[in-house]
């Protein structure tokens, strides 16, 4: 085991899988010589050469489109989109092509592309460097969507994503690249070394896609969340003093419905939280999934806490971000309901 932050864990995941499979290639803006603007690919070009760690033109549609072509020709491309906010020029290639190639060719063709992209706010990034667009992608049949909340999961899930024969969009919450963030911007930053999930095996291991994790066991309430908000939810549950079961969804699509349903059947109360905007957000899917399976076990309406339905404003980052206060208010509401 080694102490790693999320950047190092992602790099390590790429490293071991590239060692194992010569067909894995990495491509993206600034990923090669420079090692990526967040350093996730630092050193990989030196180790694997510039024919496997490829600097790309600034063309997200081009990166995704050509990654698909490489995948069709036997490679296993990992494309980096520098910020999730930049992914939209590649949207047509994801929706109309990547997601449907297997289906439309009757299973004859497939392209096992993984798209890695940093998402989320809390870094003073304004409306073009803070978005959480996961729900736009979970709405598409044919691609998998993953969002880890810690270094250990990031590495294991990334390796599974790359080795999956289905395309995967792998969102990396950049606010927690360097340490867990509990939603309080006034507190000094905490490094991953202080967190058990900062302990990461140096070697190959996988975490299967489609498996949620119970981060904390509890009996009074289930909090279903993912990404940065896993840590915020833990802090908020402590503030309220509720015995909450906190579930990190990790894999949004496919979704581990069983884990969610079993927990809510046990606790009878449920809060769903994410950083992305609320309206048509992934929370709507989570709430419906729980409601359909747990209706007769519920003691209160399911509560949703999410980003407001506005673009991410530069000046109001902390009023926008669904922090401890909003989560705590949501928890109280669910707990106080009859």
């Amino acid at each position: 085991m080694a102490q790693m932050n999320m950047i190092e864990a992602i790099r390590s995941g790429l490293d071991v899988v590239m060692d194992k499979d010569p067909n894995v290639v990495v491509m993206g803006e600034d990923v090669g010589y420079f090692g990526g603007v967040f350093r996730c690919t630092d050193g990989l070009q030196r180790k694997f050469g510039e024919h496997r760690v490829i600097d790309a033109p600034i063309a997200e549609g081009g990166i995704i489109g050509t990654a698909i072509g490489m995948g069709l020709n036997g490679l296993r491309p990992v494309a980096e989109i520098q910020f999730a906010d930049y992914i939209y020029p590649g949207f047509d290639q994801v929706v109309s092509e990547l997601a449907r190639i297997r289906y439309r060719s009757g299973g004859d063709f497939f392209s096992p592309v993984t798209i890695r992209t940093p998402c989320g706010g809390g870094i003073r990034g304004g409306q073009t460097h803070s978005q959480s667009p996961e729900a736009i992608f979970t709405h598409i049949s044919g691609i998998k969507v993953v969002i880890p909340s810690n270094p250990y999961d990031a590495k294991g899930l990334l390796i599974s994503a790359i080795e999956s024969d289905d395309p995967v969009i792998f969102f990396e919450p950049k606010r927690i690249y360097n340490g867990p963030f509990d939603g309080d911007p006034e507190k000094p930053a905490v490094p991953w070394t202080s967190h058990p999930k900062g302990d990461v095996p140096k070697d190959y291991y996988t975490i299967p896609l489609g498996s949620a994790e119970i981060v904390e066991e509890g009996s009074e309430l289930t909090i279903i969340t993912y990404g940065t908000l896993v840590h915020v939810a833990q802090a908020a549950a402590k503030i309220v003093g509720v015995d909450a079961e906190i579930i990190d969804v990790r894999s949004l699509s496919p979704l581990d419905t069983t884990a969610l349903v079993e927990s809510v059947k046990k606790t009878g109360r449920c809060l769903v939280a994410h950083e992305a905007t609320r309206f048509s957000g992934f929370g709507a899917e989570l709430v419906t999934t729980v409601q359909e399976a747990c209706f007769y076990h519920l003691e209160a309406p399911i509560e949703r806490v999410a980003g407001w339905d506005t673009p991410y404003p530069h000046a109001f980052e902390w009023q926008y971000f669904p922090g401890q206060k909003r989560l705590a208010a949501g928890i109280r509401k669910v707990m106080e309901a009859a």
Binding site: P57, R124, T128, H129, A315
Partner: protein, 412 residues
């Protein structure tokens, strides 16, 4: 691994520790490119896209047909704006380093593009800038204090706290809102120009992007529409050699000059010395006159160098020689116009230093005033309630409800 890759991977001429090498640039002496009439047929002027339009020679004299013959007073005005641009950038960079603003991007080395083009265009011409056109905002009369307030996201911020620093706009001055995404403004400029033509007006549109952004699909959409409809638009490619860590070869600059990007579509391209104020002014006026006369679009490539880091988040010493700019054969645009004016007897070192000092004071005063409208840590602060405005023309019910919830929480 037994197999051997045959893929071509572009390599910059120098990396950290190497001696800078700009031999790839394909330069031409000042005055060597002839200036065609504005109604020249596109096929007859293809050479403009591979040559290099230069007016200022190595002795700082103006040469050749592209000399715009500007009054010394006008050139002094140009130099002053470039100096203000540079002093403003230096101060704001420092301010970011002190943690007083969250982010900054400077235009160092590229000031001539914004100022010379700003001066060559008419006030009614619409600009669709990139994030390295700060000089354009200055030249078109945006107050220093307003630009600083935008960077501070304070109570006087034109963007109401919604944008990253430097993503300005100025509607009254006909400058569109800068996007944080690359190249998206290019088709907007073409559409604006198409509308101008539809309405029978003689305003033209202009847009700017970097060499790196020419790879984006929006660039190609813009050129196609501009060519098809002969839109009155000037499409500028500011080739500053670097897109963060990737050199211009990763945007295809190894094969043909960026000015030639439009040639296949029948759009004339002019490759201009982007550090030569006179050449930029002249080429812009030529393209603007041509567009106004119904001659359609022009692509202008400005060959320049990104004198600073990509942004305050970047460290260029990791990927390019530290002193590379000093070896750039086209020099520094401010220094070159200064030396030209001194050579012609219309400027002096003393005057130059005086102007810089004058601007330092001006910028410092503006910063003091800007701070009085609020900083990141000290009020007055914008009211977070405004976060919900302008998502739609009118506040819908669900946002009204979220605004109420936020107020309740903020108050608790």
């Amino acid at each position: 691994m037994a197999r051997k890759s045959r893929l071509h991977i572009p390599h910059p001429s120098a990396r950290p520790g190497d001696k800078p090498d700009f031999s790839y640039l394909n330069l031409a002496p000042a005055g060597s490119v002839e200036k065609p009439s504005i109604d020249a047929r596109t096929r007859d002027i293809e050479h403009l896209s591979s040559g290099l339009v230069r007016v200022l020679d190595d002795e700082h004299r103006a040469q050749g047909e592209w000399d715009p013959n500007l009054d010394p007073e006008k050139l002094q005005v140009g130099l002053r704006w470039m100096l203000l641009n540079r002093v403003f950038d230096q101060r704001l960079w420092q301010i970011q380093r002190q943690g007083q603003i969250s982010f900054y991007m400077e235009s160092k080395g590229e000031e001539a593009v914004s100022i010379a083009q700003g001066m060559a265009l008419r006030a009614g011409d619409m600009c669709f800038p990139s994030y390295r056109n700060t000089g354009l905002f200055l030249y078109r009369g945006t107050k220093l204090v307003d630009m600083m307030c935008q960077c501070l996201s304070n109570t006087r911020d034109m963007c109401k706290g919604r944008q990253l620093p430097i993503l300005y706009h100025n509607k009254d001055a006909n400058i569109f809102s800068i996007s944080g995404n690359l190249g998206t403004q290019y088709p907007h400029a073409v559409g604006w120009a198409m509308a101008s033509a539809i309405k029978g007006e003689d305003h033209i549109a202009t847009s700017w992007l970097g060499d790196g952004s020419t790879a984006e699909a929006d660039f190609h959409h813009a050129l196609t529409f501009a060519a098809v409809y002969q839109a009155p638009v000037i499409l500028n490619i500011v080739n500053n050699q670097w897109a963060i860590s990737t050199f211009q070869g990763f945007a295809g600059g190894e094969r043909r000059p960026f000015a030639a990007r439009g040639v296949g579509l029948g759009i004339p391209g002019i490759r201009v010395d982007g550090n030569d104020f006179l050449a930029i002014y002249s080429a812009t006026l030529w393209a603007a006159d041509r567009a106004r006369r119904g001659g359609g679009p022009t692509v202008i490539e400005h060959v320049t160098y990104r004198g600073g880091a990509h942004s305050t988040s970047d460290d260029p010493t990791k990927y390019r020689p530290k002193d590379e700019w000093a070896d750039f054969p086209l020099g520094d645009p401010v220094e070159r116009l200064k030396q030209h004016l001194i050579t012609e007897g219309h400027w002096s070192e003393e005057r130059h230093e005086e102007v810089i000092e004058e601007y330092r004071v001006k910028v410092t005063e503006a910063w003091k005033e800007a701070r009085s409208f609020g900083t990141m840590t000290e009020g007055p602060f914008l009211n977070p309630i405004e976060m919900f405005d302008d998502v739609y023309a009118e506040l819908p019910e669900h946002l009204e409800e979220q605004r109420r919830q936020m107020l309740e929480l903020e108050g608790s």
